[in-house]
Subunit: 205 residues, 2 copies
DNA sequence: TTGGGACGTTACTGACCGGTAACACACATT
DNA sequence: AATGTGTGTTACCGGTCAGTAACGTCCCAA
């Protein structure tokens, strides 16, 4: 190679990460993407390091083992998911009812554009070893997400806010997983209408 | 071993299958159970053969490769799932409305008793290789299941039967997947009430 | 200028996995 | 008694995987 390492990364178009980030960030980003494409057990650490324009040794210097890297990826994914709540607050400031509709729109759009399902759910399906550290990450993230939605329904003035929030979570999670197993023609196509009708019904009384 | 092979199987309590079935059936049953416990990619063919009280050679004589065995397992699982429709018809003969409630009861009960999710969905999450034969098995089974429920809703006299059926599928699939990722305290706890209320709402007009 | 920390490269280990070959054995049918 | 089918046993192959060791390189800060 005649170019410097960073230039080599930037020049090499088959690498997943071409920014000037540090190896650690590139590794996490590449791992998230590869896990999405092939599943956690379907990707080796070598492939992750290579996609990040790095190498296995550097990966293991930052993450003691593959499981730790998996946990870090899931934490990053869940913290990115958390951003939706502030985004909704910024888009519809002080209007929780519209924020709730916005949440449904977001979910329906994501399901329409991507049939690969939720990273956290997919990880939960793959990781069955009892006591695996990733399970706590997944559980905590999902519980927080549900709690946020419960709170949003409450703020929107829905009397039975908990029931509504839980039903909406079931619908959206079911929709994501139906897209994955049934494909594009699954029953998730009408998700938005169903959720909107449900919100209407809960908002009346 | 002093006993005959069949006796050895029956005596050996750490084997998953102790019946007098032929090796092929024992292998499929053991594979289904092990896939449930550890995931498809988490189980090797050696472990399956051993759990079935058989061996790898016999396994490969019946199934050309592991993927074929996976497909056979999924077909068996889906055909067992199909039995619910005739069971419901036998339990509530000529009463599709009660059959629909029975379907909800069944789903809620299963989710309450088992947090491991749907075998077909779990397989769909794990198997990402494009064109993998198992994907068609999964898709066909899921589509048939949805279609059966649509038909049941229609028979039950629901005007918007397709909407109701699809919403119910989303709720139930979401509930199963929530149990898996969130655990026992997830929003799937109120599945039955939510489904019943939804059926009520759709039955009025 | 010189140290040191971060990173890259190569090579390796031991375990596991999917799949196959060769041979031995039991049993039912004829 | 002979035959063929289904099955069990052992050993092996090539590949992949997670993880480690040793060494070399780059670059920044003191």
């Amino acid at each position: 190679m005649s170019s410097t390492p960073l230039q080599a990364i930037a020049d090499n178009s088959d690498k997943l990460v071409t920014t000037l980030e540090r190896p650690r960030e590139r590794i996490v980003k590449s791992a998230i993407e590869l896990f999405r494409q092939h599943g956690i057990k379907g990707v080796g650490v070598d492939a992750i390091a290579e996609a990040a324009g790095s190498n296995k040794m550097t990966l293991y210097r930052h993450f003691g083992c593959k499981d730790d890297l998996v946990c870090e990826c899931l934490k990053q994914v869940s913290s990115e998911k958390e951003r939706i709540w502030t985004d909704l607050e910024n888009t519809y400031p002080g209007d929780p009812a519209k924020q709730l509709r916005g949440w449904v729109d977001e979910a329906a759009q994501r399901i329409f554009n991507d049939l690969r399902g939720c990273d956290l759910v997919n990880a939960a399906v793959e990781i069955k070893e009892a006591g695996h550290p990733a399970q706590k990450v997944i559980m905590d993230a999902k519980k927080a997400h549900v709690q946020h939605l419960v709170e949003l329904c409450r703020m929107a003035g829905v009397q039975q806010y908990e029931q509504l929030a839980q039903a909406l979570v079931l619908l959206v999670e079911g929709a994501r997983v139906c897209g994955q197993s049934i494909g594009i023609e699954g029953p998730q196509q009408r998700l938005k209408q169903t959720c909107d009708a449900l919100i209407d019904a809960f908002s009346k009384h």
